[in-house]
Symmetry: C2
Subunit: 235 residues, 2 copies
C-alpha cells in the first residue's frame, strides 16, 4: 500500500493498521467530489461527510501538511498526486470488495457497500491482489463503477443520465450512482434495471414525469429521482 507513509512518522502507536480510516475517507470524498467540481470546497466536503465545516478545515490542514492535498485558505482543495494515489487505492479496494462479496460469497448488490466501506481500509496488498485475481482483474464493480487499476488507471465510460434521454431513445444501463442507497438498489434489482440492461424510452410523462422504459417484453416505470441515478450509454 502507498499507505500514507508520511504518517507513520514518529509516534508508532504500536498496533496501527486501522488508523488512517478518516484520512482515507476524506481523500476518497475529495476525489469523488472533484469529479463534479474542482477545487472542492470545504462545505461540499462537510456535507458529504456529515460533519461541520470547521472539522473539514482542520482535516484539510492536516492533509496539506501530509502533502495529500494542495490547499490555500478560502479556495478549496485539490488532491496532490500522492493524495490521488491513496484515494484511487481505497476506491479500488472498495469496488473490488463489493464485487468479491457478491461473486464469492453471494451477497446482494444492495448489501455490499456498507461492508466494503469498512474493509477497504484494512485489507493488505496481498489480499487485494488475491481478490482481484479471483475476480479476473475486473474493471467495473456491481454498480457499474469503474475499478481503478493498480497503477491508478481508471477507465471511465462516457455516460449520460437516463433523465436526459428523449422518448424513443435506445440505451443500456451502465452505472447506478448512489450505490449506498440500499432501498433504491433493491427496488432496481426487482425491476430488473441493473447494469447491462438494454431498454428503450417509450414515454416520458409531462412535468417531472415518470419515464416508461421498454425492457424486453415489459415496460418499467421509474420516477425522476431514480432516472437521475441511472447512467446509460447508447446502444
Amino acid at each position: 500500500m502507498p499507505e500514507i507513509e508520511a504518517l507513520k512518522s514518529g509516534s508508532s502507536t504500536q498496533r496501527d493498521g486501522l488508523n488512517h480510516q478518516a484520512i482515507e475517507d476524506y481523500l476518497k470524498t475529495i476525489y469523488m467530489l472533484a469529479e463534479l467540481e474542482s477545487p472542492v470546497s470545504t462545505s461540499r466536503i462537510a456535507e458529504a461527510r456529515d460533519v461541520k465545516p470547521a472539522s473539514v478545515t482542520s482535516m484539510l490542514q492536516r492533509l496539506a501538511k501530509l502533502k495529500m492535498v494542495d490547499y490555500k485558505k478560502h479556495s478549496g482543495v485539490t488532491l496532490t498526486t500522492a493524495g490521488e494515489k491513496v484515494a484511487l487505492e481505497v476506491i479500488r479496494h472498495h469496488r473490488l470488495l463489493e464485487l468479491y462479496l457478491m461473486e464469492a460469497l453471494g451477497f446482494e448488490w444492495d448489501e455490499v457497500h456498507e461492508q466494503a466501506d469498512i474493509l477497504e481500509h484494512v485489507i493488505s496488498e496481498k489480499l487485494e491482489e488475491r481478490i482481484a485475481a479471483f475476480l479476473g482483474h475486473p474493471t467495473v464493480d456491481p454498480h457499474g463503477d469503474p475499478i481503478p487499476a493498480k497503477d491508478g488507471t481508471i477507465v471511465a465510460v462516457d455516460t449520460i443520465s437516463l433523465a436526459n434521454l428523449a422518448t424513443g431513445t435506445q440505451a443500456q444501463i451502465t452505472r447506478i450512482i448512489d450505490d449506498a442507497n440500499s432501498e433504491m438498489l433493491r427496488y432496481l434489482a426487482e425491476l430488473g434495471l441493473t447494469p447491462g440492461t438494454e431498454f428503450t424510452v417509450v414515454d416520458i410523462a409531462p412535468f417531472d414525469g415518470p419515464f416508461s422504459l421498454q425492457v424486453g417484453d415489459n415496460v418499467k416505470i421509474v420516477g425522476r429521482t431514480i432516472a437521475n441515478s441511472i447512467l446509460v450509454t447508447f446502444v
Copy 2:
C-alpha cells in the same frame, strides 16, 4: 454481533465499526491466558499485550465497568459470560478467517494470522456466516485450533505436547501453538509436519535433545522449542 452493545451507549461517534479493537483484543488475550491459569494476573496480560501493567489495570477497570470481566483489585480477572462470549466470537472470526484465506484465496498457513488479526474485528455477522457456510462450518483452523461455534461451544481435543512423548510412541499432530510465528510455520510446512500428520518417535537425544520422528519413509528431526509447540493425540 454481541458487539459490546453496552459500549455503543451515549457517544454515537457516527462512523464507528472499527472501535472496539483494543477491547476485543484484551478479552481475547484474557480468554487465552485463562486457559493456562485463571484468574489472569495483570502482569501476564501486560506481557502478552506488550504494554505496561499500569495500562492493563486501567483497561481492566474499563472492562469491569462494561461487565466484561470480574475484577477485584490485586486478584486478577476472569471473564464474565458476556466477556467470554465476545472473546469466543472474536476467536471464531479469527480462525474462520485464517481458514478462509487459505481455502478460498490461496494464502499459506504462515501468512494468515496477521491479516486475520485485523479482519477479526471488522467482519459483519453476515460475512462471518457466509464464510462459515463456504467452508462447510469447520471446527478447526489451519493450525489445528478449534473454531468456536456460533453458540459459543468449543470442541477441545485432548492433546499432549510432542515434547512429552517417549521414544517409540505413535501419534498424530493435531495442533501447532504459537500460530503467529511465521518462520516456524514455514519451516514446519517444509518438513511436512502439519496437523493430521502421523508419526512415530524413533529417537530422543539426551539433555534437551532433538526428537527424531518417523513420518512415512522419512525421519524428521525437531528441537525442543518446536516439540513444545506441537500438540499431538495418540493414534
